[in-house]
Subunit: 241 residues, 2 copies
DNA sequence: CCAATAGTGTCTGTAAGACATTATCAC
DNA sequence: GTGATAATGTCTTACAGACACTATTGG
């Protein structure tokens, strides 16, 4: 049934109550804890990376986990995700999108915890990691992760590829100006494959995705490449590959 | 944005005592209520329909709302959605997929309620509506809905279209055997536009989506159409339109 | 034979994918 | 001039989309 989470075949043994649940005061129901977990992606040195934190307490003490936190009672889910992202990376205005909500009853040994996952695409140049335990790890060689975070990260990679294929999200990984080779490197890194340079550039130009700045990259010991800037909003829907 | 210094990732001071997991009990945090709301779609009489229930108490008493319910502490999110679907329609084995999680702090006037929305695609012939207030409404002419349900329903229609364009989900709206005209009607209804009959059928056959049953529809006062059955699992990824 | 719907093929234009050479800079 | 990377165009093939007539049944 649903995509990422393995569905439990628990038969709905439930007393079929004629009253709709909405008629009740929600406060009288047992309530799960709700967290956000963020998959923070960056592309650096031709590698797709995910930011992980090392847990310093039970459960999964010493293991790597996705950065996350509990949702404040008066903040929206998006705001909670922005907060976690900002706490870990210092960046604020980046591409951030809700991914999926995971809620298997036993996914956290402490108590019932439902997590709303988000993924973020950041330009590594803008990140200032705090002095806590957060570090980058290759998405293609992740360590074992705490909780169900391995499955969450794998699902995030699928969605990331979809985003780059059908939207302009790739710009999020790049600085304000960039070369077409930089852009192609992002695609090759995220899809873990190579693309033909002429076809790639033709596509980018046909779709009018970039604008020539008139500047060129300097201090390179070969023909200096042109610098471009994005000509579309990040996340606009455009079929690219 | 809230104060970045108060990190929620892992509460700080920790005594390395494996026997006291309660140290970081997430239960110490305030917890929101969590519900599932389901957008149950069907196609009937060339109309895309959504199942709505009439609220019988505050808030939004007398208004229409998406069917939903609170999540039991020991059931998964998928199971909760299946339960709500079964309570309202009697159907059990249908296409059901998580849509999005909505959690604006003030979306419910009673208390903080986060809702995990699901959408389901059912064949109207299999539905047995209970004797409660659930009835079908055209997705193209919805009444005002309670809470933020109007926005949820609109988003669901977008995702539904995406699903039919890129997967075999359309079969979920049809019985075991069907004609190609039936299938085309599903597409025309969901996309609210017409498609060329020859191109549509060519595509369906080229993608090997259906299998001839050898049977024909009877009791029609015109040339009897062939009956087909699906040749792919519901939800398989295939570019159709 | 009339009404109603089923069923079928060709042509044209566009876009994807394969592919090799020249240009420009630092040293 | 050498090493390194930038920049560019053509051809072939596959798929999307426009388009009109014949077939089969019940009444």
């Amino acid at each position: 049934m649903s995509d990422p989470s393995e569905s439990r075949e628990t038969p709905p043994e439930h007393t079929t109550d004629e009253e709709t649940p909405e008629t009740y005061d929600p406060a009288q129901f047992d309530r799960p804890s709700v967290t956000v977990d963020t998959i923070i992606f960056t592309v650096e040195n031709d590698d797709l990376k995910i930011l992980l934190v090392e847990r310093d307490s039970w459960p999964y003490e010493g293991e790597w986990a996705l950065p996350g936190g509990f949702i404040d009672m008066d903040e929206s889910l998006d705001t909670a995700a922005e907060r976690v992202l900002e706490e870990k990376t210092g960046v604020t205005d980046v591409y951030l999108e809700q991914l999926y909500t995971f809620g298997e009853p036993d996914r956290d040994p402490r108590t019932r915890v439902i997590t709303v996952s988000y993924f973020a695409l950041v330009n590594s140049g803008e990140v200032a990691l705090g002095d806590d335990q957060a570090t980058w790890h290759s998405a293609y060689d992740l360590p074992d992760l705490a909780f169900d975070h391995t499955g969450i990260a794998e699902y995030a990679i699928k969605r990331l590829r979809w985003k780059l294929e059908y939207t302009t999200a790739a710009f999020s990984f790049l600085p304000e100006t960039f070369t077409l080779t930089d852009l192609q490197n992002v695609y090759e890194t995220v899809f873990d494959q190579t693309f033909d340079k002429r076809n790639f550039r033709k596509k980018i130009h046909d779709l009018d995705l970039v604008e020539d700045t008139g500047e060129k990259k300097t201090d390179v010991s070969h023909r200096p490449p042109k610098l471009y800037r994005a000509n579309k909003e990040v996340g606009e829907i455009v079929e690219i590959l």
